[in-house]
């Protein structure tokens, strides 16, 4: 491994202020951002009108798209692409359910939240599920969870739901699911928000069970089980 800088070079830590690696002396020269847009398949105003749904489900996490495509979105109508990695919005007409599968992309999450607000506004109920790596879960009793593949937590919500741990500070969620949940909460609109800490990302057959069980319990149409497609190589040494 070569030395990344010159020998003896002082590496000054970068600014904490900006998520996207900008420094204080570069900040004034940053060009304003171009506005992101939802990517509709067909052109026409009717396509672009937000859908009124019984339930708007948002599921967000790193490397989540394969799981969503195989276990959640089969047979659903693709409404539009969300301008962030492999994210998209799908519609289940039979159940009146709108499903947003969101690859974690914090840099664009504020803007994407704004794009999805009209859908969240029209939805009767909104459910957000955030998938995070288990190492990010903070607890004074962390040893209690050491053997668990997944830890499912709710943010506020139904106290009678004893299977699910209430998320305690200093844990929090970030991203589009957080934006939509926060917005609905501020407006006193119903919101169910969950976070699943898992020790396997991308999800494998075992780790996916916690997500599928939660989705089924909350009335979201999904597969019974998920088996990730096999890969020719592990890519471990390439």
């Amino acid at each position: 491994m070569s030395c990344p800088g010159g020998f003896g070079e002082l590496n000054i830590p970068s600014s904490r202020a900006f998520w996207d690696d900008c420094e204080e002396d570069e900040f004034e020269n940053i060009k304003p951002a171009e506005k992101l847009k939802l990517q509709f398949d067909a052109e026409g105003d009717a396509q672009e009108l937000p859908v009124e749904s019984e339930l708007f489900v948002l599921i967000e996490g790193p490397q989540i798209s394969e799981f969503c495509n195989n276990a959640l979105l089969t047979g659903l109508k693709h409404i539009c692409g969300i301008p962030s990695k492999k994210s998209a919005l799908h519609w289940n007409a039979a159940k009146g359910q709108l499903v947003a599968s969101l690859e974690e992309d914090l840099s664009n999450s504020g803007e994407i939240t704004e794009l999805l607000l009209p859908y969240a506004q029209l939805a009767k109920k909104v459910l957000t599920i955030t998938i995070k790596p288990k190492v990010e879960y903070k607890s004074e009793e962390i040893d209690r969870f050491s053997d668990d593949v997944s830890i499912v937590c709710r943010i506020g919500g139904n106290k009678s739901d004893r299977d699910v741990v209430k998320l305690e500070e200093p844990n929090f969620i970030a991203g589009v699911t957080a934006g939509i949940a926060s917005w609905r909460h501020q407006l006193d609109l119903p919101i169910s928000s969950y976070v699943i800490y898992t020790d396997k990302l991308p999800l494998d057959a075992v780790a996916a069970q916690a997500v599928l069980q939660l989705l089924q319990k909350l009335g979201v149409t999904c597969s019974e089980r998920y088996v990730p497609s096999s890969k020719d190589s592990s890519y471990l040494y390439t």
């Binding site: 004074e140 943010i155 969620i173």
Partner: protein, 247 residues
């Protein structure tokens, strides 16, 4: 951008002192605002939304408002003390920051005065004997607080004149934006290093309170001392305990 619980469209902050943290080295300014909000039991009045702010959501950060949910930018007030404290809980997205800053400054323009808290890398303090504090104030702020800023026994801060505050985030840009709109503004920062910055945070609050008690209205018992409350969100600030399984 602005969401207020009372559904109002604008902030009524004439005569208010606004305390605003920049996202700086060690997050010391945000920690100072945390201490201020928890100690004074300030009331959440709303939040700010903008694409510049990465959305966050979770359990309340403070003991005195257990039913609240954290957001990326929260507004807290004390009507009695005419104090508005803004708290940021997420870093900024650089390409949206100019627009956010413009809207934020316009929103806070009616305030009586704005105090921006910040920090700079400790190694930027070139002379060891120099004060660990530095400040920058607009002319109208200096005029209005000549007695406090002119008190040499109290204020040992160095006036900052440079073009950058390294590690200070967008503090200087915010300062300039308020100054352009003729809002009395002071930027106070401390030279510090990354690590456990909770002490720096309490020092920032104490220093500001010492300069002018009517900024923060923090007093107690008549002996000049006051007790700061640590918010419950500071629990496990450096992560989980090391698991026993490791050994």
């Amino acid at each position: 951008m602005l969401f207020l619980k009372n559904k109002a469209k604008t902030l009524d902050i004439a005569d208010y002192t606004v305390i605003l943290p920049s996202i700086c080295v060690g997050n010391a300014a945000q920690l100072a605002c945390d201490l201020l909000i928890a100690s004074k039991k300030l009331q959440r009045i709303g939040s700010l939304f903008h694409p510049c702010l990465i959305p966050v959501y979770g359990p309340s950060a403070y003991q005195h408002e257990p039913e609240e949910r954290v957001a990326s930018c929260e507004l807290y007030t004390s009507v009695e003390d005419k104090l508005l404290v803004i708290q940021f809980r997420a870093p900024l997205i650089a390409r949206h920051t100019n627009d956010f800053q413009k809207q934020l400054v316009e929103l806070l323009q009616p305030a009586r005065r704005v105090i921006i808290l910040s920090g700079s890398f400790g190694f930027e303090r070139r002379i060891m004997e120099d004060s660990p504090w530095a400040y920058r104030a607009s002319d109208n702020f200096k005029e209005a607080h000549a007695a406090q800023l002119g008190n040499a026994s109290l204020v040992k801060w160095k006036e900052h004149t440079g073009e950058h505050i390294f590690g200070g985030g967008n503090a200087l840009q915010l300062f300039k934006a308020f100054d352009q709109l003729k809002v009395p503004v002071m930027l106070l920062f401390r030279y510090l290093l990354e690590g456990d910055n909770s002490t720096d945070a309490s020092l920032i609050v104490r220093e500001l309170n010492e300069l002018c008690e009517d900024f923060l209205q923090l007093r107690n018992g008549g002996d000049g001392k006051f007790k700061l409350t640590v918010p419950k969100s500071w629990n496990l600030l450096f992560g989980n305990e090391v698991t026993e399984l490791l050994f």
